[in-house]
Symmetry: C2
Subunit: 366 residues, 2 copies
């Protein structure tokens, strides 16, 4: 599989939904496979909150491959022998695309809290500018889970001719208060950490030691990514063997898991990016610039493959079903293929139980 | 309604499950109504994590009555004209009973982190010593929700002759990893707040300004106390009108609710008590000192009234059903009356939608 990693610099302005302008800006992206002659084999992948453009394969010294390696590769469900796959890091993130820790041109000072609030729609708009620059004006398909699914839905509504196949996994038409509440705990934990220092934190210090607030926020996130059953199966009430039951800080295995993942995460993800991206997720509402959800969806011309997860505790299956229902209300049922994946893994299922999704994705790609 | 508030001082040792000893110790309690001549009209109420012995009625200058005022009072479901109701503050808490911020006798220094880990069983044992001192050797009924329900179950197993009627609401037979994870976020937020200072925090400072970590922890708790539907109905996607959608720190109403309740809470509850009581909840397992849950429940001789809440996201109804199933396995079905309350309010329903519980409670008290 041929992998290319690059960062594209744009000097033209990106007009944001808020009315503010991002200029200049960078987009980092990765491609897999080769673009065919008539450019008809492009598949766009959109990543989630803490994801990156590194979808598949290994970087040098990597212990783990990209985040959707089980789905994307030579001979895999998204077959890189056949398709030219591209994923870009969303603006606002911290893996090469312009975000709050980028320099605010023309100075060399970082944006930090002066970075504009961005939306899912802004992320997609930036991606379209990247594709334009690559001479790509349409895609065979777009696919994404969680925040990636929001982007895929946004493509379908706002760029109805860009692709005929939108695969939306474990997402929602509009973020509900339950999900906003989980983000709130994380956002508050970050902001109130003294080391956050009003956004003026010491980058080296965070890279070396992490930010406790971000770790605690990640723990809150993990609860919403798992399900009560997956926690039950994975941890049960097992206690860490070397710790005492009657020690105040003795831990259950589920606590050790949250510690490990929370504190590790806080060393590799940027706190301000976490604030900006969760803000984008919170304010996502496919109907915002329309009279109603139905009005919004009426712009769709491509096929929607909607895959919800039965045990998803972040974006409930009913939220995906609402998209299906609204499409039905406007006489577009024929454009929708909805399936609920029977997995116990909760929201994370689209990352950890990929084999339950492949048949639906393969069908959608045909 | 006659209300009495008192604190009883015990100089005898309280032998804890951990092997440690609490000596001396205090228990604060409140009573409602009057004890009848043959002491046959006692109802014991057990409070939840952040509750207190102040169940009903108003203190001077109080804006709100006690936490279960809608259930307890003259002519109410738990009728204080008829019953003598007693509720005590659990040991480990911060409303008068001995806890981590009590002086470690004989010094005047506070326990803080030297306080022993306590269990639900220890809380109940301390209550029994209080009742002994009052000459009360049996109760007409015991009732509690959430952690109060754990105590009621503990009474049924460990003091099977103390009462014939155990009413257990929105609790579990053993705390599951999902609930432990919510507590983990809270515990971590508290411990990592620099003002917590390894447990040596400045009491006055906390009383005046609260502890951010405890506020964040309370927000995590609130998510588990509500349900996705109750949040949907209460807040929807409504935004705080005076805040900007494209301001990074602009808030949805659900965020404002969490801010308000979190930061208020952190001024009236003690951080160390929160750590000790969540530890007691985490390690609660009715089967721990027995071969199995069935073995544990086989000691029960009184009637169990089990009331779960359909939308409870903290202690799922399946956990209450497990108690029913295990009782059936050991041929004690006749002692169980299980009902699932159809409420959208989530775990909090037993506090906010009391009228859905009253008919079951009245029946159980007969």
């Amino acid at each position: 599989m041929k992998i290319t990693t690059a960062t594209k610099h744009f000097t033209s302005p990106l007009y944001l939904e808020s009315g503010r302008i991002l200029e200049p800006y960078d987009i980092s992206y990765e491609t897999y496979g080769e673009l065919n002659e008539d450019k008809s084999n492009v598949i766009v992948i959109c990543h989630a909150l803490t994801g990156s453009h590194h979808v598949a394969g290994y970087y040098e010294d990597d212990k783990k491959p990209g985040w959707w390696d089980s789905l994307v590769g030579d001979g895999k469900c998204i077959d890189t022998k056949k398709y030219f796959v591209i994923c870009s890091n969303v603006i606002g993130s911290c893996f090469g695309s312009t975000g709050p820790m980028s320099a605010k041109y023309p100075s060399s000072e970082l944006y930090r809290l002066r970075f504009p609030v961005i939306t899912i729609s802004d992320m997609v708009k930036a991606q379209i500018s990247l594709f334009d620059s690559l001479g790509i004006y349409e895609a065979h398909a777009i696919i994404g889970g969680s925040m990636g699914g929001m982007q895929a839905l946004c493509y379908a509504v706002e760029y109805p001719h860009f692709t005929k196949r939108n695969i939306i996994i474990a997402a929602t038409h509009a973020t509900q208060p339950w999900a906003i509440a989980f983000n709130k705990v994380a956002r508050e934990a970050i902001i109130k950490d003294p080391k956050f220092n009003g956004g003026m934190y010491d980058i080296k210090e965070i890279e070396n030691n992490g930010l406790n607030g971000l770790a605690i926020g990640r723990m809150s996130g993990h609860i919403s990514y798992l399900s009560e059953n997956s926690m039950q199966n994975k941890f049960g009430r097992n206690y860490v063997e070397t710790e005492g039951l009657y020690e105040l800080f003795g831990r259950f295995q589920v606590e050790r898991y949250l510690d490990y993942n929370g504190y590790n995460f806080s060393k590799w993800f940027d706190p301000l990016s976490y604030l900006y991206i969760t803000k984008a997720i919170n304010i996502f509402d496919a109907s915002r610039n329309y009279d109603s959800l139905e009005d919004s969806l009426s712009h769709i011309e491509g096929k929607l493959t909607l895959l919800s997860i039965k045990s998803d505790n972040l974006f409930f299956k009913e939220e995906m079903e609402q998209i299906q229902k609204s499409m039905k209300m406007i006489g577009k049922s024929h454009l929708v293929d909805y399936n609920c994946i029977d997995s116990d893994y909760g929201h994370d299922a689209f990352l950890v139980e990929v084999d339950k999704f492949t048949s639906y994705i393969s069908k959608a790609l045909k």
